[in-house]
């Protein structure tokens, strides 16, 4: 059959699918709502360091000396500038423990009795930070914020002491106390945000979902309804059917992908650094790499129900293993190895490089090649399988 006919028939099938889709108001609403929910949900559930503000922290000053009071005063001055903590007075460790258990505070600071006497005796003054083990994410943040704050206070105290006691100039004093200073500079302007990180992954994921859920659903639904027989009994290539369905699902997935892109830019201030054309090309490439998998699932699943189950089994590991939500570098090595056999990993990485870091084609060449490889291999397996499944 001529390639022109295959394409023409598939366009008609795509036209039919999209027409059917556009007639269902519910589906149209969901088309927009799904990415919106996804973006809002993912953007807000994960904590970031900037989410620490006005966090209730218990403060127990058990030091009878003046240095403890001085420490508290300084802490309050710093906190008034940053607004990170809401300091709540407590009496001792047990009091803080009760407050933690009652969720009144998220952590605590204890200035022990011997704080002043130790410092005056030429020893280090110890500060105890109480953390909440039931909330590791929050503990981690409080730990780092408080230890940074205490270290900073210590430095300032040291500089002050040098300045007052030995008449060393302030600049000299600070270079003596902290000889090294660090400056952070990103390769693109602006602060890193979780949205920046997650938006490219979600675009890749939504496109993947459109094909992995949409395609098996679209075909097995028609199979269950009996309408697929009409197309199979018509003198058209089996390829036209699958191609038409793929086109329709791709258009649907792309629309959702662009809604996400739009939301990310307009609502969440994500900046696309790279070329938008390259982003579109990568999204289309992502589609190509997943088409085979979608067709494969379709061929195996004879009923709509089975298709949904098979698809779910594959989709969730892909979603969480492909670095859409968490960087794969944080995973243990075996999980990283697993992540590297999933096409979504490469799609996400490539999109992230282009969108966030402004990379050009040459920087994502490896990913592009791997995605093409996945697409070709999966299609080579899936198309014969589909043909066989259709003439059972």
């Amino acid at each position: 059959m001529a390639a022109k006919d295959v394409l023409r028939h598939s366009i008609w099938i795509c036209w039919k699918d999209l027409l059917e889709f556009s007639r269902s108001k519910m589906r149209l609403v969901m088309l927009v709502l799904m990415p919106l929910f996804m973006m809002v949900m993912i953007g807000f559930i994960f904590p970031s360091s900037s989410s620490i503000s006005n966090t209730p922290i218990a403060l127990a000053n058990n030091d009878p000396g003046s240095l403890g009071t001085g420490f508290v005063q300084q802490l309050e001055i710093i906190n008034n500038q940053t607004g990170m903590m809401k300091l709540i007075t407590a009496t001792n460790f047990n009091d803080i423990k009760t407050k933690l258990q009652n969720s009144e505070v998220n952590g605590g600071i204890i200035i022990p009795e011997n704080f002043s006497s130790n410092i005056l005796a030429g020893k280090q003054g110890e500060i105890i930070v109480v953390i909440d083990q039931s909330n590791p994410q929050m503990s981690l943040t409080i730990e780092s914020v408080l230890s940074k704050t205490v270290a900073m206070m210590g430095e300032q105290m040291a500089i002050h002491n040098l300045n007052v006691t030995y008449q060393v100039s302030m600049t000299r004093a600070s270079s003596m106390i902290t000889p090294y200073s660090v400056q952070f500079k990103g390769i693109i302007p602006g602060e890193p945000s979780y949205f920046q990180f997650v938006a490219p992954g979600i675009i890749a994921m939504v496109v993947m979902m459109a094909l992995m859920t949409g395609l098996p659903h679209a075909i097995s639904y028609e199979k269950d309804m009996g309408t697929l027989d009409g197309m199979l009994a018509a003198p058209i290539s089996r390829l036209s059917i699958i191609l038409g369905k793929v086109m329709a699902q791709t258009i649907r997935g792309m629309i959702q992908g662009f809604i996400i892109l739009l939301l990310a830019v307009v609502l969440f201030g994500v900046v696309i650094e790279g070329s938008i054309l390259l982003v579109i090309a990568l999204v289309i490439l992502t589609v190509f790499s997943f088409v085979g998998l979608g067709i494969l699932i379709t061929s195996f699943a004879d009923k709509e129900e089975t298709a949904t189950m098979v698809m779910m089994t594959f989709m969730f590991p892909m979603m969480f293993l492909s670095g859409v939500f968490f960087p794969i570098q944080q995973m243990p090595w075996y999980m990283q190895d697993l992540a590297h056999i999933l096409p979504l990993t490469y799609a996400t990485t490539a999109l992230r490089k282009v969108m966030v870091l402004g990379a050009d084609v040459s920087a994502v060449g490896t990913e592009i090649l791997i995605l093409i490889g996945f697409g070709v291999i999966l299609l080579a397996v899936a198309v014969p399988m589909f043909r066989r499944a259709m003439s059972r």
């Binding site: 008609w12 009996g226 009994a233 003198p235």
Partner: protein, 400 residues
Amino acid sequence: MTQNTIELHQITQQFKCPKCGHIAEYSGRPNERVIVTCTSCGNKGTITLPETIPSPQSTNGHAIEISYLKKMFGDFTAVDDVSFFVKKGEIFGLLGPNGAGKSTIIRMLCTLSRPTNGSATVAGFDVVKQASKVRQHIGLVSEKMIMYDELTARENLKLFGNLYNIPKDALDKRIDELLRLVRMEKWADERIKTFSTGMKQRINVIRALVNQPEILFLDEPTLGLDPQSTAEIRELIRRINSENGTTIILTTHIMGEADLLCKRIGIIDHGKIVALDAPANLKKIISGTDVSTFEIEISNLNPRIMSSIQSLSSVKSLVQEDTTHLLVRANGGDAFDTIIDSLRKNGAKVRMVKNLEPSLEDVFLQLTGREARDKVSENNVSSTGSGHGPHRRRASRRIR
């Protein structure tokens, strides 16, 4: 019942009955000796079929030729070495109970299902090797409607017309023509989901005609339709056949429908063709035997009377038509006498007895030993619930 089974296979040969001279076609494997019963006089005899197998390419004016067609689903044989042909321009019926293999045969002929064994040609093309050629010449009205609910009637027809590569102008004309044929012009641009089942089926049938097929397959075309829509669809089928000369092969489990529409009928049971002939000739299978059907009206019909008739050895089946009417099939010359005797003994008030002409239903029963539909059990169940006083009381007592 096996002595009445006429199995049709690749070789079809005409034989003359030595007793009455009736000529009939009989089929079987090459060189096979087949015991046959003359459809005219009931005379039994043995025939030997010739050896030569006609080449499958020679269509002999046949729209469809099937030889040794077999379909297995795992261990289950859905279609078992079926062979027959359908002549050009005829309405051919495949009659049989649900699960007999009718739909499977249709699906194989429409290239939707690959035969496990055997071959078939449709419009002269092999269903496996020349599937896409076959598809150009056929239309399919499947048991499930091939239509998209969210699309309008016209959009549905347009989609399929385009899949058949019909040029736009010709297609628009064709669609209008088809809509006029079923008087649905007014509803052309309404969505299918707003239609009644009867309207849907009319569109479903013309959808299969969009490519002006030589051969139209209809799988249970009146299933689930109300009586009026059923009549409309039957009339439409007749018109399609007579006006365009379209060959039609339809499946049904309704004897009356096959009798009404079909020129020839193949009765199928357990994946095998058990008889194949014109309806009138099939009925002669019965008239040659001593099976008769009586319709009896009894004003005081009760379960006791029914069970007494059922227990008679000559009675083969008993169907309760309504509260007073019984349909009794019995064999043996004295069947009528024994039934009347039994009725008298049980104090039945007989209003009327009618000896009915044999129907296809009788033929089917004779050939397979069971009803096409499980009418007996259906009616027994319903009579327990909705029957008359004493019956119901007795039934409920039994339950306690």
